[in-house]
Point group: C2
Chain length 335, copies 2
Amino acid sequence: MNVKIKDVAREANVSVATVSRVLNNIPLVNDETKKRVQDAIDRTGYKPNAIARSLKMQRTNTFGIMIPDITQAYYTQVVRGVEDVCNIYDYNIILCNTDSDPIKEHTYLNVFLEKQCDGILFIGKSLSEDLILAITNSRVPIVLGALSDSEERVPSVSINNDEAAYDITKYLIDNGHKKIGFLTDEDEISYVGIERKKGYIRALESVGIEVNNDYELKGKYTIKGGYDLMDKMLKLKDRPTAVVALNDEMALGAIRKAEDVGLKVPEDMSVIGFNNFSISEWVKPTITTVAQPMYDIGAISARMLIKTINNKQDENKSIFVPHEIIIRDSVKNIE
Amino acid sequence: MNVKIKDVAREANVSVATVSRVLNNIPLVNDETKKRVQDAIDRTGYKPNAIARSLKMQRTNTFGIMIPDITQAYYTQVVRGVEDVCNIYDYNIILCNTDSDPIKEHTYLNVFLEKQCDGILFIGKSLSEDLILAITNSRVPIVLGALSDSEERVPSVSINNDEAAYDITKYLIDNGHKKIGFLTDEDEISYVGIERKKGYIRALESVGIEVNNDYELKGKYTIKGGYDLMDKMLKLKDRPTAVVALNDEMALGAIRKAEDVGLKVPEDMSVIGFNNFSISEWVKPTITTVAQPMYDIGAISARMLIKTINNKQDENKSIFVPHEIIIRDSVKNIE
DNA sequence: CTGAAAGCGCTTACAG
DNA sequence: CTGAAAGCGCTTACAG
């Protein structure tokens, strides 16, 4: 077994209380005995048992973080932002991939609760009513990242997805496009998808373009997904001149499909993406997209959570971080 | 405060010992009282405190995992493999990004030790002598993923990097290339980089090609890194006809640079990558590369670690998983 | 089949 | 300034 506090106490000829005090930098320890303890610690190679400490302190310094799938570039950056600030404030993260599966979400929530996580970060596209109830009931501090709760029951940090979709659709309209396709998620009730659709429709209606339901196609959030969707899109009798895809991977797939059937992008078909995936400036054509500050979303979420825990201030509201249209080569002005 | 075992004991009119027994499915409990306890649990919404349990059981069911940077696509898949099998066996992972920084590595090791992780997964390119000593001293079970220890002190799962580099260099040679550049890591002592260089040189020497030191260029493992390195490569008086990059991101950057100066890939310059990044089949030209089973590396590592913990069998050796050359469009036969 | 009690490794009032 | 003791929430021999 490892050395424990009792062992160093014996070694230093003091009580465990004293050892604990020097460990935790509690000031009222005599300098000389402090040194003796310190020596004993060094000599024995003692490392405090954080589990025992957590049990006593009712605080684990660990957060649970749920994301749909770490394999997706987007989430990767958010997680990195989270972990970096956690590291600064001495927190660690338990990482879980939910695949947006409600079963897994509930299971992991329970794990976080049982493992006494000090807080939870939920990153994703959508938060079910069920889960939010379970979370608020449990009374763990939580922050949502990359999405928000429309009813503001829990704090969140994300872009304004409605606005972002509006802006980008408007950008297409300003470039003369009137027939604009919309490549979205299979998951009908995805919060982010819904918000984005709102913005898309709002933009169309703002200039009196009628919404064509054939132009909304649902598929996977992957390159292949975009590829397949563009295939369908191109089979429409009255095909759009531009398409907005809900992430850059889809946009890339859509571009490739268009090219595969002999169209040129953007000459014959404009495509716009979402998220500013790191690859988007390196493919040909480079992809016009709307950037989210993904790292910041993670970092701010974590910071918010830490603040909540330390100050008991649950006066946190949703905060929107700015998005930005990155103009590159995949959109043509057809006016 | 939350409800604890004592509360459900009172509620069910039994001792905490009995509650604990039904919680842990220990068979010798009367069916009727088991039901009473179960009801009390349901009624109170009791959730066991895993921290308390861990303290008693000396086992946390959590692993620490260190990776250089979750933001890199390669590691993402490894982590997903790890998490998926951990989930099956009821483990969770504490995820840490080290940036391959020795300070962070040591800090995180201590965190894992203090938080009583049952085991550690170390994923990366290189493991310093220092760290391996600290790890073996601590006696935590560990498995290395994506790299291995040349002295076999700790178990690992990875491809045979030497072989992989040999194979891919040989492939270039078989396609008539004699002047072959090598785009590698800045980190001189990276285990993976060293192994790969060995294979590269071995392939050259196997056909009597003299190694040209100018052809080895060190830079960042990113698209931009590859871009910059190709720039240097092209300024060589006697430039190579082909280049092997140590990941696909570098390969992509190298391709873009070549194109930017008016060369065609692969007609004027062949480029080959590593890892089979998901984008590589979607860019133009598609990138010839050597695939590693990254998900499997993660999954197998985790499985190995779990086995070690449960069977006390530290008879684990390094295992090599197969790599595979994926032939696409970025290499030209110039014979 | 069930309960009382010790103990996992810490922290912290309380007393001196 | 320091120590003895209680307690965090569990599990599990031991006794009955």
